[in-house]
Assembly symmetry: none
């Protein structure tokens, strides 16, 4: 990414978000983005090195905001259990709020070695680590089982939310509202599926 003063930078980012979400990264033409942003094709290259750079910048830009917001939200709760619930709700609300962005992250950033292998996704890892931090916190507080491996649990929890939101993003009709989905998913993780207060879990 080259320069970012002026509103052109954000106009292009915004246009790209729209176009990538609609056509996918590979089928999106740089000229589509230019048209959407109402700038000349060449102008794109004053703000970005190349097409890849647009996607990466767009992602970084968004993750910065998302991460900051999530840190904020989670820190408002003291209780580890509440934090988990807050995470789920915030995550899904965000998806709801910014479908295009969500679709791109869901779909494009998963894709092609280019982005998942070569591109070191720092911010995403930090996002995931918010979860494992909470879990560890809960374990220290004696609320969560010690046998839980935070590094696995963070992925499981994120994956559950993520798959749910993929379903949302990609299907047009939503059977369940966000609150329901968020509540369900955090409940699964917190209390499990089993209806037995005296369940046989060994610690």
């Amino acid at each position: 990414m080259k320069s970012r003063n002026g509103d052109k930078y954000h106009r292009i980012i915004h246009a790209a978000t729209k176009v990538f979400a609609k056509k996918g990264f590979f089928h999106a033409k740089v000229s589509d983005i230019a048209k959407e942003a109402q700038v000349a094709d060449g102008t794109i290259y004053l703000y970005f090195d190349n097409k890849d750079d647009i996607l990466i910048s767009l992602f970084e830009e968004q993750m910065r905001a998302v991460l900051e917001n999530m840190i904020n939200e989670v820190s408002r709760e003291k209780d580890a259990v509440k934090k988990i619930e807050r995470f789920a709700l915030t995550h899904l609300r965000l998806i709801e709020l910014n479908k295009n962005m969500a679709e791109i992250i869901q779909v494009e950033l998963r894709q092609s070695s280019k982005f998942m292998k070569e591109y070191k996704n720092e911010k995403f890892l930090q996002y995931l680590n918010l979860i494992s931090d909470v879990i560890r916190e809960g374990q220290e507080q004696g609320v969560f089982r010690k046998s839980v491996i935070p590094e696995i649990a963070k992925r499981a929890f994120f994956g559950a939310l993520d798959e749910m939101s993929r379903f949302w993003v990609l299907s047009s009709h939503k059977k369940y509202d966000i609150e329901t989905a968020a509540k369900q998913i955090s409940e699964y993780f917190l209390y499990g599926l089993i209806r037995d207060p005296a369940h046989p879990t060994a610690e």
Copy 2:
């Protein structure tokens, strides 16, 4: 897809799996696949309609086998709890067994509206429904909480496994073995994270 007798069809599918996993669908050239399969470029088009068709066929072919196998595995258990555990273990073992395939499913099929929106992924839905079936079964047996919404839970559970396997596929070193990961993930779903037998879950 046109014809599939002869071993050429499978040779091409196999070659494509390798090439797609390595380069990604978009960066993979039809001629790469042809070379890998040791057939002429044109020969590909005797067995497949176009490049997209190779990916779809490859996916269908694989999902058929995977689904069949999973049905088998799950049906070997009577207990809903055991079935969930079996699902997790089988799913992750499969990933382990066929990394290339897993990577393609993880990465390429998520990609581009082309495949997730327009391509009706029947087999995948059936695969997901194996989970909701088990959950409903468990609810009827009185083992699982009635408040669980199977349609949400199936996605949450699958998402958890899927994210775990993405991690596996895309990172080179594995900290945890399959059995551990499968056990952890099914435990989260079955018993939750909370360490309190007398937990306040309202049904």
Copy 3:
């Protein structure tokens, strides 16, 4: 350069010679060459790596023939003096015969570091060395002055011929015929400009 079987390779070389001579390398479009050669644009790239490669291949191809021919011609003469005359005549005749090629060599290959600095022009150096070899030969036979430095003289002689042919190639009307020009130039080098009653030049 990739492959050269079939006549397409030479058809493209020939077309490129025409187009480069007319428009110059930089102003020539690959599609111009394709049209001239009556092949598709993409076909060019089955035979050449890129536009530069066309120019280089064209040059190598030609120099090979030219060098071979000159070696032949020069070796037909025993006398160093005659050899010099033969060189001049052969060189200018060649230019006359293949104007387009000559113009490209004159103009394009002189150009841009790309070709004069990075491209090691082996064949051209061998061509020049034919001259210094003859001069050394003449010196050993006692015909040429020992004070002549063959490495300078070869360039001077070639430069003289080259400038003459540049004039020919680039101007449309020729005042002097080849034989005259060749004779003049070799005379300058052999006998000098000075009118010396004692030397065998007929006035």
Copy 4:
């Protein structure tokens, strides 16, 4: 060319000389020249019509000075023989003095019909004619052979010097110094290569 008062004009010419020599005309960007001259891109267009005009102006500017200087130098000698020697020496010294300029003339002005065909190179022709004038003078004085055709000889002599300087400009190490080269080349033209005891060349 538009305006030329102020030092900007010459700053740009100077910068262009540097940039063209380094990258070649086609690979040189107008913005490179602007940066080198420490002016804005747009400023270039206050002094020059377009990129071509920079090259042409640069050439004219230089040729004016070179021609003037050469007229001066040559006129200092009375003897036609001395004049030829003086021309060679002055020419090569100039090249040495201004390598960048020389490289551009050598390389860029030879290039592309654009400049050698369409651009009427008045000054260059005048430069060449200095040589033929001297030759005619020598012939009238009875020093040079009458059979020499001045129009051919001028090109031959210039070509010899030019090829020598090309070699200098494009190769990094110089085996021979200017004085040697100039002396050699004028000797070839004045006395020829042939060792004739009857002519006044000391061996």
